[in-house]
Symmetry: C2
Subunit: 413 residues, 2 copies
């Protein structure tokens, strides 16, 4: 007998029919003799509908009351799923974040889980019940309703799995796992059977939004095996777990990209001590997150300073930089929104030399120029012209041997 935490996202519980489908999945797990704790999100677009109600009233709704409002979304889902299970003869009991209780920090709209009581859950499991917990929500020490921010239901599920020492935390969604690359761009992309927490963190912060980043960090910290899989298929999905020394690791696990960044360059700034922070200071003061940073020193004692920001922040950052350029006596500010960041990720890189070289060569073979480079222990990212996005991703996918093999067997992996 195993204990599973199953998390069903908004698309998985988006209608009465889908909730009944999820009911059958839970019954199946139970019929195999396992215990089940279920975490659910709000139905489909319910959270957006509630947010729209509030924003139709005022552009900046009170954060405390916004959490009171949106937390009703998950409460509807847990009740309907419990009603559905009980109607099928399966004992079940729903819990709001307040009832469990899931104690969080007192930061509305983006609270963090501090503690979860396990008493009621253990008791219900011992009594043969399916326990259904509202994702995304909790209460602060003052008993105010809080929410964990977008993707918070994943975090609720992983936290519960950690607390209960669950055998696995299953994140049911509308894709059947994590791929070596976006299948819409690389038709030969493969669904990975296994991947490490670190690789997922790099993949998801780079734009592959299959599972919430904080949930993955949590899972890594508390060593919770997490499986990402589709509600509506029998595929076993992708298991996110630890690096297995006995397993042969592929050098590169996947190719990913981020088309949401834009590049800014301030040219010919007279160099002096601390020039980097002088340039970036006003940008961070405006709460703009800077990603890649490159500094080139020229022979004439000036520097070119380049960095990337999210496209949404581009005009504001450019404006700030133009002011700085004037103050610092720089020659000009250049901006480029037509760029994309492409990355290769893999824990295998740690023990393999020459990965970056292979990457650069593969891109050069396609005539693609690299504008910026950044590397970490398990990833190499490059910024290239936007128009080369698909070509670059496919070339790298092939260069690192990720393409799906021709045999029908591996297609099913």
């Amino acid at each position: 007998m195993a204990l599973y935490v199953q998390k069903y996202g908004g698309t998985s519980v988006g209608s009465i029919e889908k909730i009944q489908y999820v009911t059958e999945k839970i019954l199946k797990t139970r019929s195999e003799g396992h215990e089940v704790v279920v975490v659910v999100s709000a139905m489909g677009k319910e959270t957006d509908r509630l947010l729209d109600l509030a924003r139709n009233m005022t552009p900046e709704p009170d954060p405390r009351e916004l959490d009171v409002l949106v937390s009703t979304g998950e409460q509807v889902s847990i009740a309907l799923l419990a009603i559905s299970l009980i109607a099928r003869g399966c004992p079940a009991r729903s819990y709001t974040g307040s009832q469990v209780k899931i104690l969080t920090s007192d930061v509305y709209n983006k609270a963090r889980i501090l503690h979860i009581d396990e008493e009621f859950i253990r008791q219900d499991l011992a009594n043969g019940k399916v326990v259904i917990v509202a994702g995304f929500q909790g209460v602060d020490p003052g008993n105010n309703i809080t929410t964990l921010g977008r993707g918070g239901s994943d975090t609720t599920a992983v936290a519960l799995a950690a607390l209960l020492h669950a055998d696995e935390c299953l994140i049911y969604t509308d894709v059947n796992g994590i791929y070596t690359a976006d299948p819409r761009i690389v038709p030969s992309a493969r669904r990975l059977d296994r991947i490490t927490f670190e690789e997922v963190l790099e993949l998801s912060s780079l734009g592959s939004k299959v599972i919430n980043n904080r949930a993955v960090q949590f899972a890594g910290k508390y060593k919770v095996p997490v499986r990402v899989l589709s509600t509506f298929s029998e595929d076993t999905g992708t298991l996110i777990s630890f690096e297995d020394k006995n397993m042969e690791q592929p050098i590169v696990s996947g190719v990913t990209f981020d088309a949401d960044e834009a590049k800014l360059t301030i040219r010919k700034v007279p160099d002096r001590a601390g020039i980097g922070s002088t340039i970036l200071g006003p940008v961070s003061d405006a709460n703009i997150v800077v990603d890649m940073i490159i500094q080139n020193t020229a022979a004439d004692g000036t520097i070119d300073f380049t960095f990337t920001v999210n496209k949404n922040d581009f005009s504001q950052a450019k404006h700030i930089l133009e002011k700085s350029a004037h103050l610092l006596g720089a020659e000009e500010v250049l901006g480029d929104e037509k760029i994309v960041k492409v990355s290769i990720v893999g824990v295998g890189m740690r023990s393999h030399a020459g990965i970056a070289t292979t990457m650069f060569k593969a891109l050069a073979n396609e005539g693609i120029s690299i504008q910026l480079i950044s590397t970490s222990e398990i990833k190499v990212s490059v910024v290239i012209e936007e128009k080369y996005l698909e070509l670059a991703v496919r070339a790298l996918h092939t260069a690192f041997g990720l393409d799906v093999k021709a045999s029908p067997k591996s297609l099913l992996v």
Copy 2:
């Protein structure tokens, strides 16, 4: 400075615009220097929408989970109203039934309030905040969410007013008070300035659904002055209070009717001790509520036994009665669904003789036969043919001097 509990029903908070309108009403009360505790219902048809979701899943949804589901309706309303008030610069704080907390019995779907904590409410009022409480809901001693049944928000409001010794409990709805008769039937019906708790109880149990019956009982018990008035007019509505010995009471306060009853007669039952309970026993065993009961004894030692039930229960009751008729050797069972009960209500009756006589004469003048009669201290009810409903109500309204006077002034009262 007074303390008011204001309750806004579903039609008063049915849209963003209406919530903003309610916001202005609350701000107005505040600007006059008063403290306000607000109780709100779910928006418009939200409760029905949620019930439909559950019933589309199963005809008999689990009662515990049904309360988890429908209680989200009021939670949405309190949050939106708080957001609206805060956006207008008015400090406000919302509370779910669980947060207040409103402790109830552990009967789902129709719980009764056992206790309400006043700590948070007092604290918020002292800090100049408008306190917004979700109507209709509470938690049982096991921290399960409960609801109070239809109309439960009125009870929440009255219970809070009693707890806080509020100066008045204002029930805002879509009609501007309690009338001497249904204005759709009697165009000359007048809105009453004042009425006693007992009269309202008789009026509302007889079909004038302006305010929940349990709420009125509660108000009477704890001596909470309650005012029923319209959200969308400046009319002062009807004050429900105590019998004022110094005030001249009208003999009859109103004429009301109930068209939801049907009549059953079992004819020529051989009489014997306890025959009444022998006949009604199987009916009550089927959970059918019996209203008026008449027994006639004939010279031949048989009786005719007549009673009324809700139309929804008519066929079942008739079926039960036919079985009894066979067992008891009765001659036949007669049923009549085309009846209506018309009543006159007034505390003034206590000290006036001949009220029933006036009533019967007024009906006789119109050629209306009376089929059944029942009386209590403050009301007289008669059952007549359904087709005479409007004629009877208008005749009685005139006979007891309730018609609105010709002067424009009294029209504005």
